[in-house]
Protein backbone atom coordinates (compact mmCIF):
# COMPACT_ATOMS: atom_id res chain seq x y z
CA UNK A 1 0.00 0.00 0.00
CA UNK A 2 1.54 3.31 -1.07
CA UNK A 3 1.99 6.13 1.41
CA UNK A 4 0.84 9.52 0.19
CA UNK A 5 2.94 12.48 1.35
CA UNK A 6 1.93 15.85 -0.14
CA UNK A 7 0.96 14.22 -3.39
CA UNK A 8 3.97 11.91 -3.75
CA UNK A 9 3.41 8.18 -3.38
CA UNK A 10 5.98 6.08 -1.55
CA UNK A 11 6.07 2.33 -1.76
CA UNK A 12 5.74 0.45 1.55
CA UNK A 13 5.58 -3.22 2.54
CA UNK A 14 2.56 -4.94 4.07
CA UNK A 15 3.50 -3.69 7.55
CA UNK A 16 3.94 -0.10 6.41
CA UNK A 17 7.76 0.00 6.32
CA UNK A 18 9.26 2.07 3.50
CA UNK A 19 10.37 -0.10 0.58
CA UNK A 20 13.29 2.18 -0.33
CA UNK A 21 15.63 3.53 2.30
CA UNK A 22 16.45 6.49 0.06
CA UNK A 23 12.80 7.64 -0.01
CA UNK A 24 13.05 8.79 3.58
CA UNK A 25 12.70 12.45 4.53
CA UNK A 26 11.44 14.11 7.72
CA UNK A 27 7.98 14.72 6.24
CA UNK A 28 7.82 11.04 5.26
CA UNK A 29 8.55 10.14 8.90
CA UNK A 30 5.68 12.42 9.98
CA UNK A 31 3.34 10.70 7.52
CA UNK A 32 4.44 7.21 8.65
CA UNK A 33 3.71 8.22 12.24
CA UNK A 34 0.38 9.76 11.30
CA UNK A 35 -0.68 6.50 9.66
CA UNK A 36 -0.30 4.91 13.14
CA UNK A 37 -2.12 7.85 14.75
CA UNK A 38 1.11 9.09 16.33
CA UNK A 39 2.67 12.53 16.36
CA UNK A 40 6.45 13.05 16.50
CA UNK A 41 7.92 15.22 19.26
CA UNK A 42 11.58 16.04 20.03
CA UNK A 43 12.01 12.84 22.03
CA UNK A 44 10.94 10.75 19.03
CA UNK A 45 13.28 12.62 16.72
CA UNK A 46 16.26 11.97 18.97
CA UNK A 47 15.68 8.25 18.65
CA UNK A 48 14.87 8.37 14.92
CA UNK A 49 18.01 10.37 14.16
CA UNK A 50 20.09 8.03 16.29
CA UNK A 51 18.73 5.01 14.40
CA UNK A 52 19.50 6.54 11.02
CA UNK A 53 23.08 7.25 12.09
CA UNK A 54 23.45 3.74 13.49
CA UNK A 55 22.20 2.23 10.25
CA UNK A 56 24.50 4.40 8.18
CA UNK A 57 27.50 3.23 10.22
CA UNK A 58 26.69 -0.46 10.71
CA UNK A 59 24.14 -1.28 7.97
CA UNK A 60 21.73 -2.82 10.49
CA UNK A 61 18.93 -1.64 12.71
CA UNK A 62 20.00 -2.41 16.29
CA UNK A 63 18.16 -4.88 18.52
CA UNK A 64 16.15 -3.21 21.25
CA UNK A 65 18.67 -4.15 23.96
CA UNK A 66 21.48 -2.56 21.97
CA UNK A 67 19.36 0.49 21.18
CA UNK A 68 18.51 1.03 24.84
CA UNK A 69 22.15 0.84 25.89
CA UNK A 70 23.35 3.10 23.10
CA UNK A 71 20.64 5.72 23.72
CA UNK A 72 21.65 5.77 27.39
CA UNK A 73 25.22 6.43 26.40
CA UNK A 74 24.30 9.12 23.89
CA UNK A 75 21.36 10.90 25.52
CA UNK A 76 21.73 10.07 29.20
CA UNK A 77 20.56 7.37 31.58
CA UNK A 78 17.10 8.91 32.01
CA UNK A 79 16.44 8.11 28.35
CA UNK A 80 18.37 4.85 28.06
CA UNK A 81 15.73 2.65 29.62
CA UNK A 82 12.82 0.59 28.35
CA UNK A 83 10.20 2.60 30.22
CA UNK A 84 11.13 5.86 28.52
CA UNK A 85 11.49 4.26 25.09
CA UNK A 86 8.20 2.36 25.36
CA UNK A 87 6.44 5.59 26.35
CA UNK A 88 7.70 7.16 23.14
CA UNK A 89 7.11 4.08 21.00
CA UNK A 90 4.40 1.94 22.58
CA UNK A 91 4.46 -0.60 19.72
CA UNK A 92 8.04 -1.54 20.62
CA UNK A 93 10.88 0.99 20.43
CA UNK A 94 13.01 -0.78 17.84
CA UNK A 95 10.15 -1.82 15.60
CA UNK A 96 8.15 1.40 15.64
CA UNK A 97 11.07 3.82 15.65
CA UNK A 98 12.74 1.94 12.77
CA UNK A 99 9.56 2.26 10.77
CA UNK A 100 9.48 6.04 11.15
CA UNK A 101 13.22 6.20 10.48
CA UNK A 102 12.64 4.46 7.16
CA UNK A 103 14.79 1.47 8.11
CA UNK A 104 14.01 -2.19 7.58
CA UNK A 105 12.46 -4.05 10.47
CA UNK A 106 15.25 -4.99 12.90
CA UNK A 107 16.59 -8.52 12.63
CA UNK A 108 14.95 -10.68 15.29
CA UNK A 109 13.53 -7.76 17.18
CA UNK A 110 10.58 -7.34 19.51
Amino acid sequence: MPLDVNGTNYETDEEGYLANLSDWAPDVAEALAASDGAELADGHWEVINFLREYYEEYQIAPAVRVLTKAIGKRLGKDKGNSKYLYELFPYGPAKQACKYAGLPKPTGCV
Binding site: R65, T107, G108
Partner: protein, 135 residues
Protein backbone atom coordinates in the same frame (compact mmCIF):
# COMPACT_ATOMS: atom_id res chain seq x y z
CA UNK B 1 22.63 -24.00 37.73
CA UNK B 2 23.63 -21.88 34.78
CA UNK B 3 21.94 -22.33 31.45
CA UNK B 4 24.74 -20.64 29.55
CA UNK B 5 26.29 -22.66 26.77
CA UNK B 6 29.30 -21.99 24.64
CA UNK B 7 28.37 -21.39 21.01
CA UNK B 8 31.18 -21.54 18.47
CA UNK B 9 30.43 -20.23 14.97
CA UNK B 10 33.01 -21.19 12.35
CA UNK B 11 33.10 -18.97 9.27
CA UNK B 12 34.95 -20.56 6.37
CA UNK B 13 33.67 -19.00 3.17
CA UNK B 14 34.35 -15.82 1.19
CA UNK B 15 31.84 -13.05 1.99
CA UNK B 16 30.04 -12.79 -1.35
CA UNK B 17 29.09 -15.41 -3.92
CA UNK B 18 27.33 -17.59 -1.37
CA UNK B 19 24.97 -16.55 1.38
CA UNK B 20 26.87 -18.36 4.17
CA UNK B 21 28.74 -15.34 5.56
CA UNK B 22 25.67 -13.09 5.77
CA UNK B 23 23.49 -15.88 7.17
CA UNK B 24 26.07 -16.65 9.83
CA UNK B 25 26.24 -12.99 10.85
CA UNK B 26 22.45 -12.77 11.10
CA UNK B 27 22.23 -15.92 13.21
CA UNK B 28 24.94 -14.54 15.49
CA UNK B 29 23.10 -11.22 15.92
CA UNK B 30 19.74 -12.85 16.56
CA UNK B 31 21.30 -15.42 18.89
CA UNK B 32 22.98 -12.63 20.87
CA UNK B 33 19.61 -11.89 22.48
CA UNK B 34 19.94 -15.15 24.43
CA UNK B 35 23.11 -13.98 26.21
CA UNK B 36 25.16 -17.11 25.70
CA UNK B 37 28.93 -17.46 25.61
CA UNK B 38 29.65 -16.82 21.92
CA UNK B 39 32.92 -17.33 20.05
CA UNK B 40 33.41 -16.58 16.36
CA UNK B 41 36.12 -18.26 14.33
CA UNK B 42 37.24 -17.00 10.91
CA UNK B 43 39.33 -19.47 8.93
CA UNK B 44 39.98 -20.63 5.35
CA UNK B 45 38.38 -18.11 2.92
CA UNK B 46 36.29 -16.90 5.86
CA UNK B 47 39.13 -14.53 6.78
CA UNK B 48 38.12 -12.46 3.74
CA UNK B 49 34.85 -11.61 5.51
CA UNK B 50 36.74 -9.22 7.76
CA UNK B 51 38.98 -7.56 5.18
CA UNK B 52 39.12 -3.76 5.14
CA UNK B 53 37.56 -1.49 2.54
CA UNK B 54 35.14 -3.93 0.94
CA UNK B 55 33.09 -2.48 -1.91
CA UNK B 56 30.63 -4.98 -3.35
CA UNK B 57 28.46 -2.37 -5.08
CA UNK B 58 29.61 -3.55 -8.49
CA UNK B 59 28.09 -6.97 -7.88
CA UNK B 60 24.87 -5.48 -6.51
CA UNK B 61 25.44 -6.56 -2.90
CA UNK B 62 25.09 -4.60 0.32
CA UNK B 63 28.41 -4.06 2.11
CA UNK B 64 27.52 -5.98 5.25
CA UNK B 65 31.14 -6.00 6.42
CA UNK B 66 30.31 -2.77 8.27
CA UNK B 67 27.99 -4.78 10.48
CA UNK B 68 30.84 -6.74 12.10
CA UNK B 69 31.80 -3.53 13.90
CA UNK B 70 28.45 -3.70 15.73
CA UNK B 71 29.26 -7.09 17.30
CA UNK B 72 30.82 -5.37 20.32
CA UNK B 73 27.47 -3.65 21.01
CA UNK B 74 25.91 -7.11 21.07
CA UNK B 75 28.45 -8.29 23.68
CA UNK B 76 30.20 -10.53 21.18
CA UNK B 77 33.87 -10.00 21.80
CA UNK B 78 35.59 -13.35 21.38
CA UNK B 79 36.67 -13.34 17.75
CA UNK B 80 39.38 -15.74 16.67
CA UNK B 81 41.33 -15.54 13.41
CA UNK B 82 43.28 -18.53 12.17
CA UNK B 83 46.82 -17.32 11.54
CA UNK B 84 47.53 -20.13 9.08
CA UNK B 85 44.59 -19.09 6.88
CA UNK B 86 45.88 -15.50 6.76
CA UNK B 87 49.38 -16.71 5.87
CA UNK B 88 48.10 -19.00 3.11
CA UNK B 89 46.32 -16.05 1.48
CA UNK B 90 49.12 -13.51 1.82
CA UNK B 91 47.11 -11.51 4.37
CA UNK B 92 48.13 -10.03 7.70
CA UNK B 93 46.06 -8.83 10.62
CA UNK B 94 46.44 -5.28 9.23
CA UNK B 95 44.35 -6.28 6.22
CA UNK B 96 41.41 -6.92 8.55
CA UNK B 97 39.13 -4.35 10.14
CA UNK B 98 39.66 -3.61 13.82
CA UNK B 99 36.84 -4.90 16.02
CA UNK B 100 36.48 -3.56 19.54
CA UNK B 101 34.16 -3.77 22.49
CA UNK B 102 33.68 -1.68 25.59
CA UNK B 103 34.75 -3.56 28.70
CA UNK B 104 31.79 -3.05 31.04
CA UNK B 105 33.13 -5.50 33.60
CA UNK B 106 36.42 -3.73 34.00
CA UNK B 107 37.38 -0.15 33.12
CA UNK B 108 34.91 0.62 30.27
CA UNK B 109 37.78 1.09 27.86
CA UNK B 110 37.57 -0.10 24.29
CA UNK B 111 39.46 -3.34 23.82
CA UNK B 112 40.15 -5.47 20.78
CA UNK B 113 37.83 -8.42 20.23
CA UNK B 114 40.23 -10.04 17.77
CA UNK B 115 42.62 -12.81 18.73
CA UNK B 116 45.05 -14.45 16.34
CA UNK B 117 45.26 -18.18 17.00
CA UNK B 118 47.29 -21.13 15.76
CA UNK B 119 45.80 -24.50 14.88
CA UNK B 120 46.39 -25.94 18.34
CA UNK B 121 44.53 -23.05 20.00
CA UNK B 122 41.84 -23.40 17.37
CA UNK B 123 41.24 -27.02 18.26
CA UNK B 124 40.90 -26.01 21.93
CA UNK B 125 38.27 -23.42 20.93
CA UNK B 126 36.36 -26.00 18.91
CA UNK B 127 36.69 -28.42 21.80
CA UNK B 128 35.15 -25.81 24.16
CA UNK B 129 31.90 -25.69 22.17
CA UNK B 130 28.62 -27.00 23.53
CA UNK B 131 27.07 -25.96 20.23
CA UNK B 132 29.14 -25.81 17.05
CA UNK B 133 27.80 -24.10 13.93
CA UNK B 134 29.79 -24.33 10.74
CA UNK B 135 29.18 -21.83 7.93
Amino acid sequence: MSNTKTFVYINRKAPYGTVYALESLEVVLIGAAFEQNVKLVFMDDGVFQLTNAQDPEGIGMKNFSKTYAALGDYDINQIYIDQQSLDDRGLTIDDLQALVYEDEDDDWNEKSSIHLVNREQLSDIIDSADVLLNF
